[in-house]
Symmetry: C2
Subunit: 299 residues, 2 copies
Amino acid sequence: MEWTGVGGGQVKRAPVSLQTVSFQGEAGAFSQIAARELAGPDAMPVPLPTFVEVFESVVNGKCDAAVIPIENTLHGSVHENYDHLLRFELEIQGETFVRIVHNLIAAEGVSFRDIRRVFSHPVALNQCLRFFENNRGIEKVSFYDTAGSVKMITEEKLKDAGAIASAAAADIYKARILKKSIEDDRANFTRFFLLRKQARARARRSSDGASLYKTSLVFTVRNIPGALFKCLSAFALRDLNMTKIESRPLRGKPWEYLFYLDFIGHPEQPSAKNALGHLAELADMLKLLGCYPAAKSGK
Amino acid sequence: MEWTGVGGGQVKRAPVSLQTVSFQGEAGAFSQIAARELAGPDAMPVPLPTFVEVFESVVNGKCDAAVIPIENTLHGSVHENYDHLLRFELEIQGETFVRIVHNLIAAEGVSFRDIRRVFSHPVALNQCLRFFENNRGIEKVSFYDTAGSVKMITEEKLKDAGAIASAAAADIYKARILKKSIEDDRANFTRFFLLRKQARARARRSSDGASLYKTSLVFTVRNIPGALFKCLSAFALRDLNMTKIESRPLRGKPWEYLFYLDFIGHPEQPSAKNALGHLAELADMLKLLGCYPAAKSGK
């Protein structure tokens, strides 16, 4: 919150436009942490049950922006969200990497020695196996959602139960963190995208800091060996740095492939513009998903 | 089960070597379906709680083989299993694609109109949202495992509950399928690998059917743009068909990448052998994960 001095006193500046940002999951989900980083602390988070509803909320104008996970260091790319990026006309306008930190959380007044069972999403429970091995008296109980499990144990005022979720979830549901960072593998990061409606006019000049921009695109080629090699030459011949390349077989079309490609550069920069023109000659389909300031990978 | 005629009668042939095949999950998991396809119906399935234990079971000699999921059409590559492939000295000896079909299953004697709640893994529940929209009176209840939810409802003889899991799980726990294939998206396939201890001596000649073999490898390069392009030239210049290429940033090493690459060919075939030699010159690290008969992708 910013303050502007006016006369002798201070006046709280009203938010000019309160942004709404949708994400999949309950309040306190890791996507909400990403939303806060990408849209700022004043944006209003809008939790929705499915990814489709998240995309639709921006297309319909019900929300100003959306935040989606696109890949995780342990689980790979979220192909479902690439499918939605192809189908819905939204633009990637930002990226961030969030470290997935699992905390043992309980309702106010409950201490660690009271805990007999711990609720969370099975994926989160499975990422904290060492904790359960070291605390054999504590039972794992599956729940629909990480943040939702904190909501439930606090609402039900459970005296013998904990939940595994983000610190943000503890904060939102006014619960206490009993043990921080109980996940087995700390190299667990998720990359998130900020999406908005396409705003071509808004494209930034980046001649001075082109290396700070990343461009994401999807393309298809037939008959991989020669074709992919030629497609990549569009970037290699212009010394453009790729940061992601991934193939995905096309459904019902054996030997046809879709590629996800990210490179460092801005489409207004001459070499990037030429590379994209060159790629367009070679690819059957090419879709630019967005150009945005590159985030630190945190890895 | 095969029968061999001996004299006038028939003698049941004793299994020469009963293979044990480990997989992650409960009996009836989709990995067990893959295990049956890859190791045959006579192999003995060994369910284990984690992927690490699955790899260790073969390294320790407790199991003859393991079956692991490596990528899914909606969720992408399972990086955790690529990590284990790099760490443990096992060899990929087969692949298969399993369509993920979710069925509504109940204990014997329970009919559809009795069902008030349905148990399953949250990922499976989320893949059947249309079913729940069309049946508003039925509550979703999260459970640890898809097959495990069938085990539970049959053991507890629940009269008002169903589970979502594979047909194999219904079979194993002697439950009934009330509704087949209730998943929203039928283009949901998982690719599985069969792993065994390395058996270099066993390598097959494939000069007659080289196009039926697939080779999987992992390599690292520094400074992506030129380097990756050169690495791919090893295959492109020899007209070898790649079926997968995926980059993954290396932890703690910004701008260094690990690549997963599959191509059609057998390392004993001259062009493939030369391509691998060429790639070894260019890559910082190169590990051959295995060579195996290529399966139909089913997509």
